[in-house]
């Protein structure tokens, strides 16, 4: 398999202003030293609780947030070093689907205007071929073409999300970031949209970075999964390996916190104590140690480094002191 996206040591720090002169008083490390690789035609899931930096990471990869450090190589080009015009051109290959289908479509534009815009910006095709293209896209996402002259408010959440997906597909990108793309939808519609995304992926061979807080959704749609906590990737593995044999105590707790839709199963739940610490003032050493049921002395002193714990077929990395010595 060939590598499509190679993210190395990516960081995004936001300056915190304060004091009398509004100087920079500290840095909020929203994403801190994250590395991962996404292969062509694969989907990588990114899970974590709110505020863990998963959306910031998704945006930093697309340079919607200017990264503080690290490199993002998409198909051989280092995106972090591109100039403004080159970046616009590079964006043809990378698109995003947003969480809120109500806020991500302009209410004053018809669906046709929304879908044509990317093609016009990039000067692709003639007027007729553009029109053909967007009609074809609507067909792919399962909408009828007579909706082209309607406005977003006339559609339900599920339909809007389909339009958002069609928009992301107009430029035939190689890579799409789906940021909580199904979280705002009801379950019956959610599964429709999930099926659509996995079909598209199979048919068009697009790679996805699928950001979600829902581990069950991620399992269904992803080949690889990364788990984030306070701006760092604490565990990454193939979906099979991660769900069968989670290593990091945080991943274990996340998995056990999901309510099981079966009243006959009463699972032994491991409930984490307390809240996620403030990212402004993260704990020393391992950031998870304040909530970790297995915290040791070393966890407060030293941040754990990533170690390989998987096999050749099922690669699996974890950043935890429990696994470092072995």
């Amino acid at each position: 398999m060939s590598v499509l996206l190679d993210v190395k040591n990516l960081s995004k720090h936001f300056p915190i202003h304060g004091g009398f002169f509004h100087r920079v008083v500290s840095q909020l490390k929203a994403v801190d030293d994250v590395s991962f690789v996404l292969e062509k035609g694969k989907t990588m899931g990114l899970v974590g609780e709110s505020g863990c930096g998963k959306s910031t990471l998704g945006r930093a990869v697309l340079r919607l947030h200017e990264p503080t450090g690290g490199t993002v190589v998409l198909d051989g080009t280092d995106i972090t070093k591109l100039g403004a015009q080159a970046l616009v051109n590079a964006r043809r290959d990378m698109q995003i689907i947003f969480q809120d289908p109500y806020a991500s479509l302009s209410p004053r534009r018809t669906i046709q205007q929304t879908l044509l815009e990317p093609l016009e910006t990039h000067n692709i095709g003639t007027a007729e071929s553009r029109q053909e293209k967007i009609e074809e896209l609507l067909d792919i996402v399962g909408l009828r073409k007579h909706i082209l002259h309607r406005y977003p408010h006339e559609f339900s959440g599920g339909q809007r999300q389909r339009i958002g997906i069609a928009r992301a597909l107009t430029l035939e990108p190689k890579f799409i970031v789906a940021d909580e793309a199904v979280s705002a939808l009801d379950v019956s519609v959610q599964s429709q949209v999930l099926n659509l995304i996995s079909n598209l992926q199979r048919k068009l061979g697009i790679s996805f970075l699928f950001i979600s807080h829902d581990l069950a959704v991620v399992q269904h749609i992803c080949d690889d999964v990364g788990v984030m906590y306070l701006g760092r990737l604490v565990e990454k593995a193939t979906a099979t390996s991660l769900y069968k044999d989670p290593k990091h105590p945080y991943t274990k707790a996340l998995l056990s916190a999901i309510p099981t839709p079966d009243p006959t199963i009463k699972n032994e739940r491991q409930i984490l104590k307390g809240d996620v610490p403030s990212p402004l003032n993260p704990p020393s050493g391992c950031t998870f140690r304040t909530r970790c049921p297995k915290a040791m002395d070393i966890c407060a002193q030293k941040a754990p480094v990533e170690v390989e714990v998987g096999t050749k077929d099922e690669p699996h990395w974890v950043a935890c002191h429990l696994f470092e010595s072995s």
Binding site: E49, S50, S156, G157, G158, Q159, D186, V187, S188, V189, Q190, S191, Q192, L194, N195, S198, H213, D214, L215, A216, V217, Q219, H220, A239, T240, Y243, A253, L254, L255, A257, I258, P259, T260, P261, D262, P263, T264, R269, I271, L272, K273, D275, V276
Partner: protein
Amino acid sequence: MSNKIPLLSVRDLVVEFNTERGLVRAIDGISFDVMPGETMGLVGESGCGKSVTSLAILGLVPSPPGKITAGSIQLNGRELVGLPESEYRKIRGSEISMIFQEPMTALNPVFTIANQMTDVLARHQKIRGKQAKNRAIEMLELVGIPSPDKRINEYPHQLSGGMRQRVMIAMALSCNPKLLLADEPTTALDVTIQAQVMEQIVKLQHDLGTAVVLVTHDLGVVAESCQRAVVMYAGRIVEQSPIVPLFQNPQHPYSAGLMASIPRIRAEKVDELPTIPGTVPDLLHLPDGCRFADRCQYSDERCHKEQPDNKITDSREVACFHPCGEAS
């Protein structure tokens, strides 16, 4: 079930809203009972009328545009529909309490927690001053807030989402209500915090014997904490049943579809998730027959023409001509 007297009894309730586009019947003739001390789930997707139901019980349907046009709501045999506002205020917070979905907006940002909690106690229990504050601290301790004597003097913005929801729970339970309405209490929270808060609600419900109506779209939460559930679709109740048979053998095709499409951690990956085709009907243009008929794989001519009545068998109730796909 019939040998006990229900705490709350809703009969043929109809709530209508006057909108620019016409009269919308958000709730169309629903009936259900809540027994003392039980936890009942009220399940359905957005727009099915589950939140309006809980607002109607509390007499909080915004009027205008909304209005309860028919039916009755009885709490311990006392009729609540048509009660004057001054009487309703005595019931809210003392006999029936509510926890809202948004812990960020349900607390007043300009008052401290102490202020808001003692307010409730002063109004309903006539406890004031130091005594009220001590009682509030006790409640905060009960819901698992660390160092409650310090936290009580803080403002809502100083607390995290999970903490705020705990404060809401503490406030809702401070006057020992008989019925607690929890409208999506954990939807805005992360899974690990959701687990903490749900554990707390279940524990308190057990200790204090409060009946809880849990309004939610999350069937996983219902499966873990409720004894019985009511499934709503487009303003009507399609099925109500004790929890175990509902999950093992859903009778209404909608409940069955809903169960199947919950994303769950599976041992083996499936190629295609089961779905319910189509979308919820527009409440302004409802079909004549069964409201689910257009999306139902078992529907026939009769389903499109007539509304199915509720069939009651044992402790279960289902509104369908072909429960579980059987031919009529």
